[in-house]
């Protein structure tokens, strides 16, 4: 895992007790922990009405810590990786454990979020079905056959709303569909056991 010099400098600022006061550091970590679960729409902003030099330092520290967490999650880093980086940036044991603790706490969440970024085909998330018994239609009498209406709920990349894919099928076709899905499930279960 490589961090840019800019981020490394920012981390050194974050670890420097003479630049970032303890209470400012607590604020930074508080905002960070609040915003990480809502990376798409971070709504809590840093609000530190102090001298401009400290404000810039706090912003740099915040940005660098966020960058560290995202990069570390992207690389699936563990505690020792984070500790090594923070020690290089001369973090005090208190601040070091605070950053490490919140990273480990949010790592899975960040990885889920990062996994959702990118292009992928619509993802099936749910299914609805309806069973009709067709008696006749305008062109045929005595149809008398069951008709299934299937509604696949899908989610497109980067969107939260669901889209429908609707189709109808006869009982034989649904049996065929379920048979194929069962085969696929078996294969996927084998892979998942690896």
């Amino acid at each position: 895992m490589e961090l840019s010099t800019e981020v490394q400098e920012g981390l050194q600022i974050a670890g420097d007790t003479s630049v970032i006061q303890d209470n400012d550091f607590i604020t930074i970590m508080d905002v960070l922990c609040h915003n990480i679960p809502n990376l798409k729409q971070p709504h809590k902003t840093l609000d530190i009405p102090q001298k401009s030099e400290t404000t810039v330092a706090v912003k740099r520290a915040y940005g660098s810590l966020l960058c560290l967490m995202l990069e570390a999650a992207k690389h699936d880093a563990d505690e020792s990786n984070i500790v090594a980086i923070l020690e290089d940036c001369r973090f005090s044991p208190d601040r070091l454990s605070s950053v490490t603790k919140s990273f480990l706490e949010h790592k899975a969440q960040i990885r889920t979020h990062l996994g959702g970024i990118g292009l992928y085909p619509p993802h099936i998330v749910d299914v609805d079905w309806r069973l009709d018994y067709c008696i006749k239609d305008s062109n045929r009498d005595k149809v008398n056959e069951p008709v299934y209406l299937i509604d696949l709920k899908t989610q497109r990349s980067g969107e939260t709303e669901l889209h429908d894919i609707q189709f109808s099928c006869t009982m034989e076709q649904l049996q065929d569909l379920v048979g194929k899905l069962k085969d696929a499930t078996k294969s996927l279960e084998k892979i998942a056991q690896l």
């Binding site: 999650a73 992207k74 690389h75 699936d76 990885r111 990062l114 996994g115 970024i117 990118g118 992928y120 085909p121 619509p122 993802h123 099936i124 998330v125 749910d126 299914v127 079905w129 069973l131 018994y133 008696i135 239609d137 305008s138 062109n139 045929r140 009498d141 005595k142 008398n144 069951p146 299934y148 209406l149 299937i150 696949l152 899908t154 894919i165 609707q166 189709f167 109808s168 099928c169 009982m171 076709q173 649904l174 049996q175 065929d176 569909l177 379920v178 194929k180 899905l181 069962k182 696929a184 499930t185 294969s187 996927l188 279960e189 892979i191 998942a192 690896l194």
Partner: protein
């Protein structure tokens, strides 16, 4: 059940029934062509037939239309072979001609019924499903993943002309399979069986 046709159809078929068996057979052939290839292809053969019989092409066209109507209506009502023969005899056809018509009805009935199905309210129809099992290993934003993914291609439409490329994960796949299996089981419940038994 005897087939009830409108007077105009009866008139056209009545004209046809008085012709020789050979001619009737030729009309049946043209009628099958009409059903399988459409109305526009055989305009020329109508004219030839009209010239030979000494009638207007419209008479030939009407007779073919009436014959097509006879076959489609019989398929629509799902007439039994016996009812079909009785209906045809009642229209004045000879027993030889009715045998020839019955042969067409028997051989082409299923196809006609399928064609009629396509005319109805048409939701995309399940045709086939092909799948591929993948493991997502890494992406630009996330390294070191191990995520089993199923890529699914859903073929919809009459012969799979509409495709949908989708994906899903194992948990959803299990849920999907179980839900659809429950849907299949539903048809075996007493409630469904009772409905199916009573609607005949």
């Amino acid at each position: 059940m005897l087939l009830v046709l409108e007077d105009s159809h009866k008139q056209h078929l009545g004209w046809l029934s008085k012709l020789d068996l050979e001619v009737v057979n030729e009309f049946i052939r043209m009628c099958v062509e009409f059903i399988t290839k459409g109305a526009t292809t055989n305009q020329r053969s109508y004219q030839v037939a009209a010239q030979r019989l000494g009638v207007t092409p419209d008479t030939v066209r009407s007779a073919i239309s009436a014959l097509v109507h006879l076959l489609t209506t019989s398929s629509k009502l799902a007439l039994t072979q016996l009812d079909f023969t009785d209906s045809v005899l009642a229209l004045g056809f000879s027993s030889e001609a009715s045998t020839a018509l019955l042969a067409v009805y028997r051989d082409r009935g299923g196809e006609l019924r399928r064609l009629l199905t396509t005319l109805g309210i048409d939701l995309p129809h399940y045709c086939n499903l092909t799948w591929r099992a993948d493991v997502q290993v890494a992406s630009r934003t996330l390294y070191r993943q191990l995520e089993p993914i199923l890529l699914v291609k859903l073929h919809l439409g009459q012969c799979g002309e509409q495709n949908a490329l989708l994906q899903t994960d194992l948990t959803t796949l299990v849920h999907l399979t179980n839900t659809l299996e429950r849907a299949l089981d539903e048809i075996k419940t007493p409630h469904c069986r009772r409905i199916i038994r009573h609607i005949k």
